[in-house]
Amino acid sequence: MHQVLERQLKRFLGTSELEKIPTELRAFLQAVNDTYSHSDEDRALVLRSLELSSGEFAELNKRLHSENEIIEKKVRDRTEALTKANEELQTLDKRKSEFLSVVAHQLRTPLTGIKWALSMLVQSQSEPLSAKQKKLIISCEDGNERMITIVNEMLHADRIGTGTFELALVATDIVALISDVIEEMSLLTTERAITITFTHDTPIPTLMVDPEMIRFAFQNLLDNAIKYSQPHGTVEVRTEVRNARVTCSITDHGIGIPLDQQPYIFSRFFRAQNAISAEPNGNGLGLSIVKSILEKHGGTIRFTSEEKKETTFYCVFTV
C-alpha cells in the first residue's frame, strides 16, 4: 500500500489494514493506491527528465561559454591587430608628410634660385635684355612660379588632409581681404581683359578666420573664375550678411561645369574635361583645398553652374 494512502487511512479510519476496511470501499481504495503509485512513477520520470535536461543544459551552457570565450579572444585579437594596423598607418602617414615636407624643401630651393636669378635678369639695368629675350625670360618666370605653386599646393593639401595645421584665428575684415586679393589678381585680369566687380553689404561683421588660409582660398576661387572666363568677360564678387551668416560669392560667365561632373568637383586631383581643355596646366587640388579650409573654419562651400554659361561659388561663414 502506498505510504500516503496508509497514513490517510490510519488518520481517518483508524486502520490501514484492508481486512478491517468495509468491502465496498476496497475497490475504491485500490484505485486510489494505484493512482498514487502511478503519480510517483510519473514524478520520478519527470524528475529524471529534468535531471537529464539540466545535464544537457549544463553541457550546452558549458559549450556556449567555451565558444563565447573563443569568440571574445578572436575579437580581442582582431581589435589588437586593427589597433596595430591603425598605428602603423598613422606612422606611415606621418612619414609620408615628413617625406613630402623634405621633398618640398628640396624642390623649393632650386626653384627659389631660378626665381631670383630670372628676376635679376629681367630687372638688370647694366645689361638690358632684348624684347625677345625678356619675353622668353618672363615665360620662364611664369613656368617657375607654376612649379612653386604646385609644390605649395601639395604641401597645403597634405597638411589639410592630415589635419596637421592649426588655424591662426584673427578678427578679420573680410571685405578688405577680398579687395586685396582682387588687387593682387590685377595682372592676370589685365592679361585676359577681365573686369572684376565687388559689391558688399555694409557693415560686414569681422570674422574670426585665419587670414592667410582664407586669402589662399579666395585666390584659388578668383584664379579659377578668371581662368575659365571668356576674354573681356566679367567676374562678380559679392559679400552679404543674412541670418548671422556671411556669404561671399564669386560668379563667372565662363565655361561652366558639366552636370555629370559636378558631383566630383571638390575631389582631389579631379578636373572637369572642359576645364582641362581650356587650361591644361592644373593639378586639380585647388578646390579640394578650398573646401577643407572652409570646413576647418566651420564654414561651407557650394556652387551652382550651367555649362557654357555661368558658375557661382558660395563661401559661407558663421558669424
Binding site: A104, T112, W116, S119
Partner: protein
C-alpha cells in the same frame, strides 16, 4: 716710410659699409644672393654652417644676420638660440629664411627672438632687401 694716404675731408667721412652675415649652405642660392646684395653696397659675409657663423658674428659684429633653418650640423634655430644667449651677439637683428613651411618652426623662431621669418620660394629678392634695410636702419 710713411705710406701716402690720401687726405680725407673732415666734414664728409666715408660711412662704413653695413655688414650682412648670410648663413646658407646652398651654393646656387649663395651666388645669386651675393650678386644681388652687392648692388646694395653692403659688405656681405658668408657662412655655410652654424659654428663658423657664430665665430664670424662674434668677430665681425654684423649689422644683420640672415639665417636659413636647415643647415648642416647645428640647425638655424639652435644657432639663433646661441646668438641670442650671447652678450656679444644678442643685439644683432636676425631674419630667418627657409623653404620649410613648418608653422611650429616659424612660431619657435619668433619666440627665440627672430625679427622675421620668410619662405624663400614665395619671397622676392626685393622683399628680402627691403626687410634687411628695415632692420639695419633702426
Amino acid at each position: 716710410m710713411i705710406p701716402n694716404i690720401p687726405a680725407r675731408e673732415e666734414n664728409h667721412p666715408v660711412p662704413a659699409k653695413k655688414k650682412i652675415l648670410w648663413v646658407e649652405d646652398d651654393s646656387f642660392l649663395n651666388n645669386i644672393i651675393a650678386q644681388k646684395l652687392s648692388e646694395q653696397h653692403w659688405e656681405l659675409l658668408y657662412a655655410r654652417e652654424g659654428v663658423s657663423a657664430l665665430q664670424m658674428a662674434h668677430k665681425e659684429q654684423p649689422d644683420a644676420i640672415v639665417l636659413d633653418i636647415l643647415l648642416p650640423g647645428m640647425d638655424g634655430l639652435e644657432l639663433l638660440t646661441q646668438l641670442k644667449a650671447d652678450e656679444k651677439t644678442k643685439h644683432i637683428p636676425v631674419l630667418m629664411f627657409s623653404n620649410l613651411d613648418d608653422q611650429e618652426k616659424i612660431a619657435q623662431s619668433k619666440t627665440l627672438g627672430a625679427e622675421g621669418f620668410f619662405i624663400k620660394a614665395v619671397t622676392t629678392l626685393e622683399t628680402i632687401i627691403a626687410e634687411i634695410q628695415k632692420v639695419i636702419s633702426r
